[in-house]
Symmetry: C2
Subunit: 202 residues, 2 copies
């Protein structure tokens, strides 16, 4: 297996953390997004959408979207379970992950794209919308802080892919000026616990 | 099982179509979003996020997010398979579904929310962003039209949950002025085929 990857983007980092938690390592191919390598013909032949991560299997089959990539890896390497064991647990973790994607990850990327200098001249920016997205993200972290008052991890008492999605999104949020607030003690406790896991360095 | 539902929203419609394709029916509780019933205490006690669909199991456990709800139903009622059979098929369909959600469904809802009169005064609207979202959706349908030239269904030669997500999003797009173009003959052929399935009336 081979992972088309990028060291700074949040989605491929989810896959690297997932692999590290499983004790797996795969060949990595770094795609330099900052210099536009993801938009050049060589990579567009791998993924016409120009997005990482892409997991390439030994027979050449390619999988995209971090959750789908991780679900495939989990099927081959079930231990430790990071996407749930029973059908109900699996649905609950998937529900939590999708909620994080829609209410946290998408608006974080939008806040970044619509307000950051990196994107000036590269895409049409609408700053007023970027600020709305940022406010939505801040409200969602506030909600998660309250939730983490009674829960060790994002999806309950066991570390899961939901923690990986939330942690990588929080780390990525810095580029859009989104950081946990000092009063968000539960969120800060959780972030420290996730950052201390060896997989956080992946 | 009981489904908290709304007749006009695209996400709960996915679950109704999924159930109909499986030949299943469950008790439905209509939540009148237009009159704000999803924001009132009675429903917030069911789902604090105020969103439908919610699948309530007989023991009171509640599941949100249409893809997670459908994955749970598929585990209990595997035939006909709508989320893939082998781990690879399951990952491929999940990847396709997530791509549709991020590149088609989310921007369709954003085009609706940021440009439609229904939302005036209810949420802060940024029309310039709504128009960008609409252009993104139109480009994505153009891409899918090309893809459907060589593929019977959205995720290949078999009907799947990906068709349900794409079809319900296309139908919902009308509210944001998004419609297939006469030249998109493959997209129109596919839409006609999905609309002719009994589940499309669900």
């Amino acid at each position: 297996m081979k992972l088309y990857d990028n060291a700074f983007a949040p989605s491929p980092r989810r896959v690297r953390m997932f692999l590290a938690e499983k004790g797996l390592s795969v060949e990595r191919v770094e795609i330099d997004i900052a210099s536009g390598a993801n938009s050049r013909a060589e990579f567009l032949a791998v993924n016409p959408l120009g997005e990482v991560p892409v997991l390439e299997l030994d027979d050449g089959t390619r999988l995209t979207e971090s959750l789908a990539v991780c679900r495939y890896i989990e099927a081959l390497h079930p231990a430790p379970p990071l996407l749930g064991e029973s059908p109900l647990e699996q649905a609950q973790i998937e529900s939590t992950v999708l909620g994080l994607m829609f209410r946290l990850y998408v608006p974080t990327t939008h806040a970044f794209r619509h307000t950051h200098k990196f994107w000036q001249g590269r895409i049409p920016q609408v700053a007023a919308y970027g600020e709305l997205a940022r406010q939505q993200v801040l409200a969602e972290w506030q909600r998660l802080d309250a939730q983490l008052a009674t829960s060790t991890f994002i999806a309950g008492e066991r570390f899961s892919f939901a923690d990986i999605v939330a942690f990588t999104t929080l780390e990525f949020g810095k580029v859009a000026g989104i950081r946990p607030q000092p009063a968000q003690t539960h969120l800060l406790r959780w972030r420290e616990a996730i950052a201390a896991r060896p997989s956080a360095a992946a």
